[in-house]
Symmetry: D2
Subunit: 334 residues, 4 copies
């Protein structure tokens, strides 16, 4: 039987999840949507798809097997808790919570419930490039990892994002994906500020340096105003060789003195395959498979690490990262 | 409602279609399979999937909405005719037929039936790279096309494939895809033989040169024994610029003195996205959309052109290609 | 002692030879120049550099050890003969002669003189990429060659160049370099015309197909009006792998939605290293080393093959190429 | 008249300078050599080239116009001082001195002499890639620089190089070249240690983070044991786009499942063009041109910055870099 999804939040991300579900996911059906803006909900709904005026009702609807949360950040934690309370699986856009307490609360609730229900939408874990990096680390084909260099560039960042928010909104992706690729927690973080671009004088491009427990150095350039496009790169440096992300459009063009290829404009294009596989594998997990994505624990650790980075940004010092021990519950789960 | 598929032929290609249908296609279900080798059929069948001992029964099964034909080449035409007779849509692996008369018979039967039912499995038409080339030609962004250079290399070809069969089995892909990209028929063909590789002394690598009606020159290297991998390349040369296929794995590796990326081993990997989109868009077409792939007419023209190429190979001369006018039926259809 | 050069012809190519000689060549000196336009000669001459009003005088000047001929094509053969008559080494821009008889006359004169004096300015033989191809063929590291695919594109060709002249002026480079890379003569040639670009309606882009004696197929696209830049590419396809030219500027740029590198505007940039090494190795040869470039015999064979290609273009047929046996003189020489 | 060079030190670097001088440099002559190992000196000397038993004699030899110093590090400063004392230009391999006092002494002596004589062999300033970066910064074509990411990997480092020496020997190149590219001094430095590779357990790969006065962040990975090859990369990130080094051999190879190109084994190959241009432009400067390379002041600042980095490595803190004001002498000079 197809998994019947309810979607909370019909903005850009929500609408894109709906589109992918309908066109590209086997064994899934979108049966209910909610958005506080009813017009947006209607534009995403289709024949036979209910529109709920209240997100709690949608989650409680017996016709809904599983929930996708793509509503504003502040609603993520309470809605995720509501789903856990009803024993319904939930794919929650990042961040899972806007405070560490909330995040920890979700972990505790899930552990208390005894069953893994929560996946955080760190879609990069489904990107074929990062998967290949993870596989290389697991297999040891290149030896031990020593460095992971990350580049995170947006074309034009939103006005409200301050240097602080760059850590919480953008760098948090690299925090999660570097834990995934390297298979271990971070131990320390420091952050260096570059001067602002004149295109965005109110925030600073950042360089975050993380060290893992075993001594791998993770460097992250976070630059929201790169103008030329959305560009996420990475190089994993191991004892015997390196593996680099090499994102590419399918064609290369020679025109007016230039030989090259187009750069993506945003994450929707750059991570299209990741978004598709994230939903596909979520459905597989709900049908008895294993969760492949970030767990509630991973979401909690990402937030905790981003908080440490924020302290490092403000103080200029090296700040320890202390996630503590992962509950044994997640050993089985993930 | 999901489209209920029956699959005839559970070899490599058939099994792969089954896998894709189940894991990656929205709104589709595999309900019946057939293979003359029952063991193979059983390995592909799953819970709730019927196994038919006879392909005709499978096609006639009222639980089957649409048919995928991946059985041996000689069976393609009669099975396709059977599906047309019952008004069932059919996705038939190439070649659609093993003689021109059979191919023309399918066209005539479909036209007589008054409804487009047949799609030929020239999956390259769904490859994002060729799609981008087609889009550039349609939009005219690079000016008129002048050349299309094609490379078709297999790692290790099967023993039974002679130089003649290289044209029918391999070059037929370039014949179809160049018609698709350029949007016009070929007018002439010549073929030049290279000396055999010592790895496969019984067949010659070929260079096929096609000219279209408007004067575009299509060059095709067909080499079945390239050893290093499966490599399909293409460059579209227009009045103001060029567009090249740039197939790439998601990562690039530096190891032992080399910086580069892996080459695919076969078409399953190289055209994975094309195979997925082919099935996805076929389901969309069955739900009221438009057929995007090669029609029966396209399959017929591909065979006719391959036959002209065969004459050119044998004679060393330039041979005209004369597909005649496309039935008006296909104007509406495709 | 430094080799004292005289330069005949101070146009673009001549001036560039002078510049390279002065800035980048060890053991060489430019002591005399001639141009029928005295102003051009003066602009290239420098302190201590004589200006000769007559090219014959320059060649005969006892202060001149060796001659570079970069004057108009029709003067190449008589000036080269004059240098041979005086026993002076000569680096002659291509074409060595404008008729086969003249070309053969140079060969005969040089053989009669008993000493190799003539090098034809097919500078590609000094390009590191073609050198690497030649080395791979000689060493057999990739097995026997089967195909050599060549692309020769200019940004904007001169008005006076007709389709016929494309063969003599442009394709002659590929004729020479494919003989160099493959180490054998061509046996047959055919030429296919593409439709003209609307940017240059009076000439046709061409596809030339050469076959060597041993059965290697050489394909050459010659397109003088590619607009986007000067682009010379090549792929050598062997039994076990391929080697491609990969010309690159030293940097790659990401800007306004594009990731790529600049394409050269003309041959001066694309073959800068080849031009430098050509002169450097010519000086080495004059100091007792071996001639590395195209000999008079190579120049003769290139012209003969271009003539066969011209017949093929006009007739549409396959035309044999019959250079005859190389004089034994050149075995020792080259 | 040709510049007559004397060479002190005939090891790998010295022998290579000799080779380049003789084969690739116009207007230069090698007239004298010295090495404390007479056999090495003899192998590098040629007809007409004197061998001096004492380096001071060589520098004082009236037949020597200019000196190249490629002897052991500890001898660089005294020999450079000796050349300055005699008013002879000197190209000194890096490091210019092994203590800051010595380095400052050279600056003071040169300034006192009133004439620029010293160039330090930071050959990267002549690499076409870094030159293109410098040109982009100067022209402002990509906006202001914000980051410069540098990668410095050796295949296999020498045993005696400790983590400390990685800074002085390897990172000093990035210290100098980032000053050159950005056109400003560094203000602060910190260093993060990665865990050692098991291939070289006694030293740690390092990540050095420099900040310039204006707020550009320079990141440097220094890894001496990368195994796969010698790999120097860089990406200049500006307000509107980026420029990356893209070092490439002239050909790309497809073989046994891999499509890629060879990585250089050491700096001699990677920076061959830089070494050639360094000597060529030194000769141009001696003939009345401008010094293009690192001055004694640049050499002093590089040493001073490397010392600050060493403090940062030992303390784990951020350490200020305070080169002080450049003597006005160098405004005119460089």
């Amino acid at each position: 039987m197809a998994v019947r999804f309810g979607l909370v939040g019909c903005g850009i991300m929500g609408a894109d999840h709906a589109r992918i579900l309908r066109s590209d996911i086997a064994g899934a059906e979108l049966v209910a949507v909610h958005d506080k803006d009813r017009g947006r909900a209607e534009r995403v709904a289709a024949d036979g798809c209910k529109i709920h005026a209240d997100p709690g009702q949608l989650i409680a609807d017996p016709a809904v097997d599983a929930v996708i949360i793509a509503s504003p950040d502040a609603t993520h934690a309470p809605l995720t808790r509501a789903a856990i309370a009803l024993g319904k699986p939930v794919l929650c856009e990042k961040p899972m919570a806007t405070s560490l307490d909330e995040a920890r609360g979700i972990v505790d609730a899930e552990v208390a419930g005894g069953r893994q229900l929560v996946q955080v939408g760190f879609m990069r874990r489904f990107d074929p490039g990062y998967r290949a990096m993870r596989a290389a680390v697991t297999a040891g084909t290149l030896g031990n990892p020593l460095f992971l260099h990350c580049i995170h560039r947006n074309a034009v960042g939103p006005d409200y994002v301050t240097s602080d928010l760059v850590l919480a909104n953008s760098c948090v992706h690299e925090i999660d994906i570097s834990r995934f690729v390297l298979g271990e927690d971070h131990a320390r973080v420091r952050v260096v500020r570059a001067r602002p671009s004149r295109k965005a004088p109110n925030r600073q491009p950042l360089m975050m340096i993380l060290e893992t427990a075993s001594g791998v150095v993770v460097s992250v350039e976070a630059f929201l105003d790169a103008q030329y496009g959305y560009d996420v790169q990475g190089e994993l440096v191991c004892e015997e060789g390196t593996l680099s992300l090499d994102p590419h459009p399918p064609t290369r063009r020679r025109l007016t003195g230039l030989d090259g290829h187009a750069v993506e404009g945003d994450w929707v294009g750059r991570f299209a395959e990741a978004y598709r596989c994230q939903l596909r594998d979520f459905v597989v997990a709900l049908n008895g498979g294993r969760f492949q994505g970030s767990s509630a624990w991973d979401g909690y650790v990402a937030s905790l690490t981003a908080e440490a980075a924020l302290k490092a940004l403000k103080s200029g010092d090296t700040v320890p990262v202390t996630p503590g021990d992962r509950p044994a519950f997640y050993d089985a789960a993930g």
